[in-house]
């Protein structure tokens, strides 16, 4: 499967670049980055994403709300979604998974892990 699109939602510029770089090593993957939940809501209908990677702690709507939005919406519900966050709190983690996040990565983690997980979900 080539030409698949991955959406990264992350407000930290440097972290966003790190995540994008970890995904861009996968051949044929187009990476889209946005800086907030609102921006994510805007781009979701415009592209068919094969994977969404989101932070939890963001300025407008939090990542949990974004997960809920994606996973309850028949248009997007099939799209795999990873949470990448510093939020090590049990409660937030459990909620993320309950809401339907497919993977939950707590920073810091090795870029290879993200790359490997993405490869698996994108079936590359």
């Amino acid at each position: 499967m080539s030409g698949c699109k991955v959406l990264i939602v992350e407000d930290s510029r440097a972290t966003r670049e790190l995540l994008a770089a970890a995904i861009e090593v996968l051949e044929g993957v187009e990476v889209f980055t946005v800086v907030s939940g609102f921006e994510a809501l805007k781009v979701l209908p415009r592209h068919r994403f094969s994977l969404i990677i989101t932070d939890i702690n963001m300025p407008d709507i939090n990542g949990l709300e974004l997960i809920n939005f994606v996973k309850k919406n028949p248009h997007y519900r099939q799209t795999p979604l990873f949470v990448v966050t510093t939020e090590g709190r049990e409660q937030d983690r459990d909620r993320g998974l309950q809401l339907g996040a497919d993977e939950y990565l707590v920073k810091p983690f090795q870029s290879e892990i993200l790359t490997a997980l993405a490869r698996r979900y994108l079936k590359l």
């Binding site: 790190l18 970890a22 861009e24 090593v25």
Partner: protein, 182 residues
């Protein structure tokens, strides 16, 4: 794939690598590689009056036709002035007095004040790059570092000479740039 590797290299490093140390080491890596067999070093040779001087080719930034030179008040006599090198304002020096080749300071404001073969050799220097006015550029000469002679004692003024090289009967005076400009 190369592009992706490049991207990765730009953004990632492994946590066990110490960035600070790497950054410090980087510029020196090239210097620390030892030569097993001596190879000749390249020097740029040029004429000043009747003498032939040379500087390591690595110290030369570029060779310029004589540009317009603006004299600057309140500076040492050996400073001819500043020249505009693509927007950079760099000093131009006249070494002849310093090297006892001429007793009076020259006044050079531009190409019309000097013979056609005159050039400005722009030298790289940690204190700030600087140009020196030379009568003629002779070209590149290869000299063995181990064969260089120390500068003979000829009086206090000769401190700007770093050493002497000899090749095919020609004597090359190696310029101590730091001393010559100081």
């Amino acid at each position: 794939m190369a592009r992706f590797d490049d991207l990765l290299n730009r953004f990632f490093y492994r946590a066990d690598e110490n960035v600070g140390a790497w950054l410090e080491l980087a510029p020196e890596i090239a210097d620390s590689i030892e030569e097993l067999e001596e190879l000749p070093e390249e020097f740029l040779a040029f004429e000043l009056s009747t003498e032939t001087y040379a500087v390591p080719i690595g110290a030369v930034r570029e060779i310029l036709k004589v540009p317009l030179i603006t004299s600057v008040p309140r500076v040492a006599e050996n400073v001819l002035g500043v020249m505009n090198v693509r927007g950079e304002m760099l000093p131009v020096y006249d070494l002849k007095q310093r090297l006892n080749l001429d007793s009076t300071p020259q006044r050079v404001a531009g190409p019309n004040d000097v013979p056609r073969e005159t050039r400005v050799v722009l030298l790289k220097d940690p204190e700030g790059d600087a140009g020196i006015l030379v009568d003629r550029v002779k070209g590149v000469v290869r000299l063995m570092l181990s064969k260089l002679e120390p500068a003979p004692t000829l009086g206090a003024e000769r401190r700007a000479v770093a050493g002497l090289g000899r090749k095919d009967g020609q004597l090359y005076i190696l310029l101590d740039v730091e001393q010559a400009l100081g």
